[in-house]
Symmetry: C2
Subunit: 422 residues, 2 copies
Amino acid sequence: MTQAQQTQQIRGGAPSRRALLGWGGAGLALGAAAAGGAVAVARTGDDTTPAAAGTGSAVEFHGTHQAGIATPVQDRLHFAAFDVKTDDRAEFVQLLKDWTEAARRMTAGKPVGEGAYGGLPEAPPDDTGEALGLKPSRLTLTIGFGPSLFDRFGLQDKRPEALAELPAFPGDNLHKARSGGDLCIQACADDPQVAVHAIRNLARIGFGKVAVRWSQLGFGKTSSTTPDAQTPRNLFGFKDGTRNIAGTEADRLKEHVWVGDGDGPDWMSAGSYLVARRIRMNIETWDRTSLQEQEDVFGRDKREGAPVGKAGEHDAPFLKAMKPTAHVRLAHPDANDGITILRRGYSFTDGTDGLGRLDAGLFFLAYQRDVRKGFIPLQRKLAAHDALNEYIQHVGSAVFAVPPGVRDSGDWWGRTLFSKEA
Amino acid sequence: MTQAQQTQQIRGGAPSRRALLGWGGAGLALGAAAAGGAVAVARTGDDTTPAAAGTGSAVEFHGTHQAGIATPVQDRLHFAAFDVKTDDRAEFVQLLKDWTEAARRMTAGKPVGEGAYGGLPEAPPDDTGEALGLKPSRLTLTIGFGPSLFDRFGLQDKRPEALAELPAFPGDNLHKARSGGDLCIQACADDPQVAVHAIRNLARIGFGKVAVRWSQLGFGKTSSTTPDAQTPRNLFGFKDGTRNIAGTEADRLKEHVWVGDGDGPDWMSAGSYLVARRIRMNIETWDRTSLQEQEDVFGRDKREGAPVGKAGEHDAPFLKAMKPTAHVRLAHPDANDGITILRRGYSFTDGTDGLGRLDAGLFFLAYQRDVRKGFIPLQRKLAAHDALNEYIQHVGSAVFAVPPGVRDSGDWWGRTLFSKEA
């Protein structure tokens, strides 16, 4: 390898057009390296998906279903809901195609655009740059379409009945500015900078066509979709949702999560429905509550997460041993005709409210085959009876139809909904 | 080892008093294990500092200086400023002692209190529990005292002159609710749940005596205090502050960071002064700015972080090659009579403002030997001339005297300031 090639490799990416033009300060040296024949080396490096290596690895973007649902839950979340600003269907479809291409690159650990700064020096960079040098970090990007999107672009007949607006539940205190949205992107990654970078670049690409309505950072996962893993603790210090659907349980996924052929409009086959709820926890009140009351509220032991009367987290619960208002007793599938949802929630802490209390809680994310048969009946019951209601408040809410996966390099997000041929 | 002891070990901590009392469901089995003689095993486990092992390891809490300043920068931050609510000096001193003991335990990866849930079932748990089972994650807790604290408790004569209130700088748009504070705690850890847990438990212990005034989560470090490491990128996609003081550079720390004997009041010897600034970045504007303008603003190449005309991040800059308003040219020690501050800032993203823009930026944290000779003259110059000002706004500000380290297990935070013998 020549010294020029080595220099290029250390720089770790394709030469920018700036470099090829010999523009700028450091660019002069880089331009010389490129002229020395290092282009092929760098291009190869740029087009290769980084090798899988634990939390730094890449998750395959293409598939029957979108990644980010059955994928083992990553450590961090950045979730954004967008409103559509354009009335031009063709422009919106082009955005979905542009987003898909950007998502394909970012989930593989590549910057947006060809080369990190592929543009001319006179133009803004193709990629904002803060993730340069970071690993793919198992980034997944998952798109969803909100009910209000179907009032646009002649989509009225395409709206699935399973994408039901949520009713007003007792105790709801929803902030409009943190609810709804024409579409959403869920970015999950093991490195928060990678998740934030992805949402930011999609927002940038969508400038003028869509606008961020609200967004939420999640710093700690509260659910596991990995079989036999310990359930992470929520901010009440408890393990909750210990019998979550694992990404490897094909039968349960098929029964409870993936939309089947004939479930509704064809375009949603292999998709899912997402309910997002911002649940504020009254941390300070909870922290002054006795251990016994806390354990009664959940119906679990705090240390182990074991159901009342049992020894281990994953032991089958004996519901009648719990108080009638215990969270587990009310939410368990056995008490709800088998209703099961796949949970992917994250803890959040957004500073302090005006009263010196932590603005913290659970950003609840649940995937299901039909919102009318999943979250809605479950939450009707919980909102009416759950002892936990004394310590929480639902302050944000949204529901989205999550279309099937992007099949291959020619496919794009939402094709089954928007394509004339679909 | 008996089976009972093994069970105890798997449970991973001291038996709670609840268990010893044989109370509760799962507690019955645990009580039996404890009765079988496992107490010593568990107590040993509870009192042993977890072995150092990469990002999961523990950082020593005791020392000449507080940890969290020269310590290699951890990945995540939770920072909280508190106002004092009690007028009782003895009560406040007791809080400092209680906080010290809690900090000593949490930085070692232990729950607050003896055993995770050492209290009676009728009492709130000693520890809120959400960090149970997590590693120490290099948690450091660093306390600071704000100027307003010295208006209380007869401390007027103890206020160091070096703890100067910051003047109003041109362009400042400070939010009162995000500024000031009688004291602060900086929690840094490689796991955000560990940092959030620590602040929350200190706030809980302080209930009624202090109240959180504001707090800030930082998701990505922007500085390195490790020699020769690559500088992490800020949300503008740039490496900034590449010649930061490393934790191993004893001479530079002594000259620029640690308060020396005779610098001011004795109680601050081996301490430091902290400036915190919440700097909002106008992300959307920046992202539409040309690469050339971005690089001109910083005086660096975006890809490498190299100063104008140089090839590598750590190459010595040639300041005159930069535009007169370039950030590096203005901030460099060579242009400021050698002024050098130790930076430990973090990127933040706190959702979206009312206009659909990311509420994101840099939570700037800088340690120095004297605020009057560190941040103030530097910021006077930057506020007047820095090209970056078009893209940023300072929206929060605070300054704190950071006392020396807690020497040993009998010492406590603030002893040199509050103790009669000191």
